[in-house]
Each structure stands twice: as C-alpha cells, then as structure tokens.
Symmetry: C2
Subunit: 502 residues, 2 copies
C-alpha cells in the first residue's frame, strides 16, 4: 500500500469513528425525547455534551487538518466516495475552525439564554423582552459571516449551511415568482362561494386505531419496520442512526386523526429517504440526506403529492373508515377528499395548508435576509411582520405571540433555515411532475395502493446518493432542469381550482 | 489552587468523561435489547465497539498512568471520594495493563468463538465440540492470573474481580458449612410426606394484568418510576445509566405469572440499589453497586426475604387476586403461600428454588476452582458434574444440555463469577437478620404493605455508598460481623421446616 492509500485508509477509519460517536449521540437524543426517565435528564445532558464536544474536537483536530492537507492535493486520484467525504470534512472543518473559539463559546451561551428568553417572551406576549437577545444573535451571525466569508451576498453564506449551492440571487427570483402567483390565488379562493364542510373530521377516533391505520400506510409507502420504529412524542421527528435504524415519532389527538396520519406520512417520507441510502455510504459523513431542502422534498412529496391525492384516498378511504368509529359513514369519497384539502389562511405557520404554506416561508425569508443585510432593524420586526401577513395572506396577528414570536428558529440562531421548507415543496412538485412522466400509471398505482414503484423511483433518483451528490445536482439529474417554481404553481392552481370550483 | 489540587481536578474531569462514555455504552446496550430495529444491529455493534475500546484506552492511557503516579503518593491527603476513585482506577489500570495487549486481543477473539461454539454444543448436546474451546479459555485464565499475580491461591485473583476481598480460604469454609447443612435438609424435605398442591398457579393470567400488578409491587418496594422504566426482554436485566435513570426489564408468560412478578421484584431490588446511591458519587466510577455479591444480596433480599414472606402476601394476595382471572378464588392465603414456596431439586440452576439454589452454585464453585488449580481437567467435567449433582441434590442429568452445558458463564470466560450468587444470598440473610433487629415491626410493615422503612434501612446501610465501601466493610458495618452462613442456614431450616411440616 502506497503512502496515499495508507493515508486514505487512516482517514476513512477516522471518519468512521466520528460517525460512531454521532450514532451514539443520536440515540441519546432519541431516548431523551421518547422515554428517558426525567430524573436522569441532567446527567444525560452532561453525557450528550461530552460526546458532542468530542465529535466537534475530532472535526477540527490537527489530525483532521493533516488529512485534509495531505489528501486534498490528490483529490482527483481518490475514489469518488472518498473525495466527497474529504470535501464534506473540509467544509465542516472550515465552518468550525474559522470562528475564533472564544467567540463561538460566547455565542453558545447566548443562544441558550436567547431560547429561554424567547419562550418567556412568547408566553408573556412581550417582544421587547426578546428584542435585545435577537439583536445580539443577529450581530453574532453577521460576525460569523465575516469570518466564513461570502461571494456575492452575506446571506448566501447562511443559505449554504442548509442548502449547499443555493443563493440569494436565485432564491429572490424563485420566491418572487411563487409569491406573485400565490397571493392572487389565495385571494381568489378566499372569495370563492364554495363552502366545504369538514366538521365531520373532528370526531373521536380511538388512538390505537389511528396508530394501526398509520402503520398500515407507512408499510404501504415502503417504510421498513425492520429498519425503524414508531414512537410517540409531543413534537414529531425523524432521526437516522444508520440506514438500518431510522426512527420516527408522531403525536395523537383523539379528536383530530389528521395530525397523526399526515404527520406519520410526513416523517415516514423523511425516513424512507434515510433507509434507502446506499450501503456503501454507511459509516461515512455522506450517509444522510443531501440537504434540508431535498429532505423536506421527500416528506412533502409523501404528505402532499401522495397523501392528499384523490387516488391515494380512493384506496385508503375504505381502510380509514374501517378503523374509525363510524364518523365517515355518510360521507362520500369526494366530500372526504375536499375536507382534507380545505384551504384557509392562518396566522400560524405550522397549522398552514399546502396552498398558503409557502407564503409563511417567503415572509420569513424576506425578513431575515433584510436583517442580515442591514436593511431592517430588529425593533421593526413586529410591524414589518404584521404588514407582510396583511399583504400576503390578508390576515393580521393581534399580538406577537401569534405573530413574530411564534417560531423558535431565530431565537436559536437558525438563520438561513426557513427557505428549506419552501424549497422542499418546490423540489417535490418538480419530482412529482417527473415521476408522472416516467411512470404514466402513477394515478392508477395510487388507486391500487401500490406505492412501491414510486418509492423505487425516488430511491433511484434521490435516496441512494445520500450526500454523494449536491442538492441541485440531484434535481438536475432527476428532472432535467434546475429549480423552477412553475411546477408548484401549476399544481396548486389546478388542484385548488378544482377543489374550490374556480 | 496548588499543583496537587489542580491535578486532582483534572483527574476528576477525566473520570467524568469516562463515565459519560460508559453511560452512552449502557444506553446502546439497553436499546439493543429492548427494541433496536434488527437491520441496524451490525452497524450498532460497530458503534458499541468503538466507544468501548475508547473507554478501555482511557483506562490504560498514559494520561491515566500519570494521574495514578502523581496522586498516589498523596493518597491520604486527598478527599475520601477522590482517594477511592483513584484506587478504583488503579485497580482497573492494573487489571487491563498487566495483560500483554496481543494476548488479550487473542483472548477476545477466542471468547467470542467459544460462546458461539457453546451455543451449538448445547443445541447438539455435544460436550466434545465445546471441550477444546473451554480448555483454551481455562488456559488463558491461568496465564492471566500469572500476569495479575496472586497472594495465596490462584483462584483468589478471579474471585477478587467480582467480590473484592473474598478468598478461597474464606469461601471454602463458608460453602462447606452451607453445603453440609443444605444436603441433609434438601434430603429431609424430599422425604417429607407433605404434598403441596400448586397446580392452580398455572392458569391464564393476562399479561397486561401481570404488568399492572408488577408495577404496583415495584412502586410499593420503592422503585422510582421517575428514575427508571420497565420494558420487556427475553432475558430480564437491570441496567443503570445514572442514579436518575435505572432501567429494568422483565419477561411475561401468560401461564406462569411468577416469572414476571418474582422477576420484576428481583430486578427491582437491583435497581433500588442503584437509584439510591449518593448523588455525590454521580459521574465517578464509584457510582455502582460495590460488588456482584452485594448487588445480588439486594435483588435476593427483595425477591426471597420480602417477596416470598408470608407477611408480604398477607397484604399483596388480595391485590393479586383482583388482577387475576379468578384462579385463586377458592385458594386460601396459606395454600397460596405454600404454593409459591414449593421446593424440589431441579437440574437447571435458573429454575432452582431458594432452598436448593446454593447447592447449584457450590457445585460450580468447586469445579471451577479445581480447574484453575489443576486438580481437574476439562474433559472430566461432565462426569464430575453429574456425580456432584447426584451427591448434593440427589438427581442426575441425562445429558450435558441439562448438565454441564447449561450456563454460558464458562464459555464467556467468567470464572470467579458464580460464587457471587450464593454470596448474595448469604449476605441477604445477614441483612434480613439485622433489619429485623433494627426494625422490630418488620413483619407488621409487610402486612401493611409499607416497605418504605425497609428500603430506607437498606439505603442507609448499603445503597448510598456505591463503591465507596468494599463489600466486606458494608457487611461488617451493617451487621456487626463478617460473613456467616449460620443466618441463611437458620432461615432455610426454619422456613422450609414450617412449609413442609418437618
């Protein structure tokens, strides 16, 4: 074995070790959320922090620096996978190393305080309380950008953390087109005389039956229960320990079965992505979804393009009826389909339907970009927020609790994250368009409850690659074009036009 | 801060980190047994091994060697806890470091093969298949003893791994006294004309109800469900992540509720020990039970001295009846008490009752000691095993599957472990004697279902200390004397004399 090969082997061993730590950390997290006894939580936090800081140290160690220095000049003679691992490690190394350690430590303390104050501020409906913390967070973020550097615009650097390759220039154009189409569409539907009854949805549906139905749907989607499990938590999530162990959680409301059912379909979409990453990538940093946006495209593809599709319910409505307490006995499939596709502007993002969801995101994007680019100050936030809600959705929060204080993201310093949600929906619409081209029998498959060919298409074009390909490569290769809001706009216009007969 | 204090602080930080790793490892283990998806198991084994070898490295690192070298000369000026931590680390350091690394690695490979072969040999009822592996295991153990060193007898060194301070000299005497009392007692009971009916025990008892009853008993014992949880596994166990998170598992048999009920009481006894270790010891290597024997004394105290006590069932029998399907409707408390205290020699250790249990252990002790001391060769095992069963219990296995091949311990190299089970029972009898002296209302407390004062007594005298005190110190300070088999012999003679009217 030559020197380069030896170095490569050592490097792979090193990242394998880091990955093992990460799996342990993920298990600690999962356990904490699903059932760890509360009296052990303090000590558990200690354990979590010891292992996390160990992984951080490994990612920025002299050993890592040496691997990067030794292997980078030979990048092109390395096997493709090693090359991408190296790039990933380099990206992380730079991200962690460029910020002075002291500054980063201060930031971590601030971040944790800021989340606590945000919680209190939201409870007391008092933005002023939170304002000085948010000002500091924004300030740190801007300083970080100076250390990390940027090409065209400062906010690009934050975008790149969550959606590698995405830029403000691109996003401004895409979101503007989307916004300009959605605002009048939402407005039209609001004025539609169509009155959809959906009261029948909210009757008692036994939790055990919700669970049984959700599990049937998950299995049919292709979620592999031998490589995962379903538990219950207040805030549902998906977490991947390795492709053979991808866990999801959900929440049950006895009087609103939609929460659990659409929630498990959503988390199931995330999980199916992780379960189908190529085994070659196990124990490497490439063994996760390639970006927040592509990840969200998979959950939204299943939740909206499959789970709210007429054909899906053609097959599943009779099953749902069987599990229910009779609440659907006099309800036709058409009535049911309309009811689960009701659209109405809401103040709260996480309660938004598919038609209005992207407008919530665009509002946040415009605001956080302006903050980072010094075109807006933190104290102006509540006013600007309310104006934008009025302008885009035609409704206005009565207080900051249901307005600017509703999300934890800014308090946690997660600037650049929000766009992923809308990007995921845009990508999903493009995949939806393409899968129908590649599998013309798509609607019939749904009607027959046969979702396997669809899952296979997603695995072939998306899942298997993990982080081996960048998000925009995935999109380009799967659909033959770059990001294009036309597909989502068409989908929403057609679908809601039909639902509301406009 | 002086140099010594600084060094002490660094040392404590170092052991805290090791302990954090251990907690993560324990969670990985627990998860694997309770519900990890099977397709993730291979990668999980990898993670487990990475973290375990990291802890091993830390325990034998140059950094550890330096702490030991720097702090040991000042041992007596260190705070008591630090001093004991240092001793514990030194013990572990020597244990791990004295064996040449290569030899130890060979042994680990052999051990894993040996367990596999043992499983096959047991299945095929073929001792010959296992014999060469066991010969090698014994050989390695003897070589290890040479490296570790020994004072009087070689087997002492193995005993010390599980029961610090225990010796062959002591154990020979204690076990001889116990054996000489038990053999005739078992014989007498076998000949007793008393025929105890216990068929009514084995009716269908719904698993949900077994669980509910077990949980009620656990709560009453003082097991804190805010610092633990109960899950289901094939082989029940207790595992401590930290005193605020001590988990137990159990197994349910619909037609034998005793498995789950006495099983949870047993594991609950282990868990209550760990839950009540002083908070001062958290994040140190002292934060576990002090030895296998003392640990077993706590599980057996609860299982036998409480859980099979007449007074316990005075209170709990009506509860059990409520949870049952009516199987006890015509059964009096006296009949019930007798039925759960039936004694009959069995071939299988883990099915043995309290009267015969120690004889199973003594047989194993005598055999493994003879193996280590070159007074017996591996190929003679089946014959010697069968002869001893005939002599001590009056029964003889028909094959090695129900004889010498029944336990995994020797295949796994766990020589020196078996005595802990009997020691635990002996200690428990001594604690039982003492607690009745210190709390004269002991039987009335059981009758009232008030187990709290008993739990408190155990915490005061045993639990709180963790590894801060050695097993024999604990025993001496709690009962005012050293190990003495008289108490267990008296207890068994009286109890079984009464049950069998002899």
């Amino acid at each position: 074995m030559g020197y380069l090969e030896e170095n490569e082997q050592d490097f792979l061993k090193y990242v394998k070790k880091m990955r093992a730590y990460q799996e342990a950390i993920n298990l600690l997290f999962w356990d904490l959320r699903t059932g760890a006894p509360k009296k052990g939580v303090n000590q558990r936090a200690e354990v979590y922090s010891v292992l996390s800081s160990e992984v951080f140290k490994m990612s920025t160690s002299e050993e890592m620096a040496a691997y990067i220095a030794n292997l980078s000049p030979h990048e092109n003679s390395l096997p493709e996978i090693t090359k991408r691992i190296l790039q990933e490690c380099k990206r992380e190394y730079n991200q962690n190393k460029k910020i002075p350690h002291q500054l980063y430590k201060e930031y971590i303390v601030l971040q944790s305080k800021s989340e606590n104050v945000w919680e209190q501020a939201r409870e007391e409906n008092n933005f002023k309380l939170f304002q000085p913390y948010l000002e500091k967070i924004v300030d740190y973020k801007k300083r970080f950008i100076e250390y990390w550097g940027y090409d065209e615009q400062k906010y690009d650097t934050l975008l790149d953390l969550y959606e590698p390759g995405m830029t403000v220039a691109k996003l401004d154009q895409v979101f503007a087109e989307l916004r300009n189409a959605l605002i009048p569409l939402v407005q039209k539907i609001k004025l539609s005389p169509q009155n959809i009854n959906h009261d029948f949805l909210f009757q008692r549906f036994p939790i055990e039956n919700q669970k049984a139905f959700s599990m049937e749907v998950l299995k049919r989607m292709g979620y592999d229960f031998e490589a995962g499990r379903l538990d219950e938590t207040i805030h549902p999530f998906e977490i991947s320990l390795n492709p053979g162990d991808v866990r999801i959680t959900t929440r049950y409301d006895e009087y609103d079965w939609r929460l659990a059912v659409f929630g498990t379909i959503h988390e199931g979409g995330h999980a199916i992505y992780e379960q189908n990453i190529s085994k070659e990538l196990i124990a490497t940093p490439l063994c996760n979804g390639t970006s927040m946006g592509i990840h969200e495209s998979q959950s939204l593809f299943y939740e909206n393009f499959i789970g709210r599709h007429y054909g899906f319910w053609t097959y599943h409505y009779p099953l749902l009826k069987n599990y229910s307490n009779g609440q659907f006995d006099s309800i036709s499939l058409d009535q049911f389909y309309q009811a689960v596709n009701v659209s109405k502007p809401t103040l709260i993002r996480i309660e938004a339907d598919e038609l209005t969801y992207c407008l919530h995101i665009i509002i946040r994007y415009e605001i956080e970009k302006a903050l980072i680019h010094d075109q807006l100050s933190v104290k102006e936030l509540p006013r600007v927020w309310n104006e934008k809600y009025k302008e885009y959705l035609g409704i206005q929060p009565e207080d900051d609790r249901t307005g600017v204080l509703q999300d934890v993201h800014w308090a946690a310093g997660d600037f650049g994250y929000f766009p992923s949600y809308a990007l995921g929906f845009l990508y999903a619409a493009q995949f939806y368009q393409q899968v129908q081209k590649d599998i013309p029998e798509f609607p019939f498959l749904l009607e027959k409850g046969n979702l396997q060919p669809i899952r296979k298409w997603l695995t072939t074009h998306i899942h298997q690659y993990g982080k081996l390909k960048k998000p925009l490569e995935i999109l380009q290769e799967a659909t033959g074009e770059g990001i294009n809001p036309k597909y989502l706009i068409d989908y929403l216009t057609k679908k809601y036009g039909a639902v509301y007969s406009i």
